[in-house]
Symmetry: C2
Subunit: 158 residues, 2 copies
DNA sequence: AAACATAAGTTGTATATACAACTATATGGG
DNA sequence: CCCATATAGTTGTATATACAACTTATGTTT
């Protein structure tokens, strides 16, 4: 009725079965996470940004007009192992952020998004939103539910 | 009651809100996918295998005792952009696979998992399974549901 | 205040990823 | 049969990731 092509995990990975529902779930979340990241980073490329760089700009906007330290950025990044120093280097080269030693604590560096950075983010917001609209086969209720299930999946022993 | 520590996405990324349910869903699936991959690859490291290498071994076991070509491996990998040639190189160095030119079609290469490879997989199966059991706060029904929702999320225009 | 420990970033390096260019083989007309 | 085209892998390279070692600055003891 709506022209969507269902692509089950079994079809994607050309595998007949995945043993247990848990195995299938785990593989499916990994696969779908990668699939989403590629869709987004592919769109971002036209603006010369990687997914992580866009992520950092978003964090900086959240602090604006206050500065953020590298530590703050790192703990909020989607992928914490990315090297925040070098990501910020790249953004600095492009004039999207400023960086200077923090006056109070000279170990820290204050990073602030520039006007140019804010402008660029406005543009990438649009493509993010366009991409999100492509998932409209998922109802808002299901979107909420997926979010809740992901949170539950990450719960761990206290 | 069961000592689990809930870690909502908002806590993980120290963000108050995610705009829309769709945005939260997308970010959460990406984040959770990465989170899972790290948990698995961290465990695999003790066997000197990366997640992708383990993935390739699994694919080869699926074909065993028949050979697989690089093309077949590539289309079944979780991350298709990984360079199958070089992944197989690594497995070859470790004696986990054999590789030889296909007799019928000399463009192709036949790759077969070795006994050593099969043995190693048995061990990594165990750790995979142990990890999966850690997600028992998710009921089997919910695991099925997550799988279905991931499939639905990836549906696209025909 | 000197010595030790901790914190915040930076740098180095090995490996992995993304993507394009290249080589070798096979296939299908004319 | 020869040439164009397609197929199957390989290689090169720029960027990114993972992780450890290293600076420099701050805090804490005694």
């Amino acid at each position: 009725m709506n022209g969507r092509k269902p692509m089950k995990l079994e079809d994607e990975l050309k595998q007949k079965t995945f043993g247990s529902p848990y195995r299938r779930m785990v593989v499916n979340v990994m696969f779908t996470g990668n699939w989403l990241q590629k869709a987004f980073s592919c769109q971002l490329k036209q603006y010369g940004l990687s997914l992580q760089q866009n992520n950092v700009l978003g964090i900086l906007r959240g602090q604006y007009p206050n500065p953020a330290t590298l530590g703050l950025i790192q703990e909020r990044m989607l992928d914490r192992d990315s090297n925040a120093t070098r990501l910020v280097d790249k953004l600095l080269e492009k004039g999207l952020v400023t960086r200077c030693q923090c006056a109070d604590n000279r170990r820290k560096v204050d990073i602030v998004i520039t006007e140019k950075g804010l402008e660029l983010l406005k543009q990438t917001d649009t493509i993010m939103q366009n991409l999100e609209e492509k998932y409209s086969q998922i109802t808002p209720e299901e979107a909420v539910q997926i979010g809740e299930l992901m949170d539950k999946l990450r719960e761990r022993e206290g």
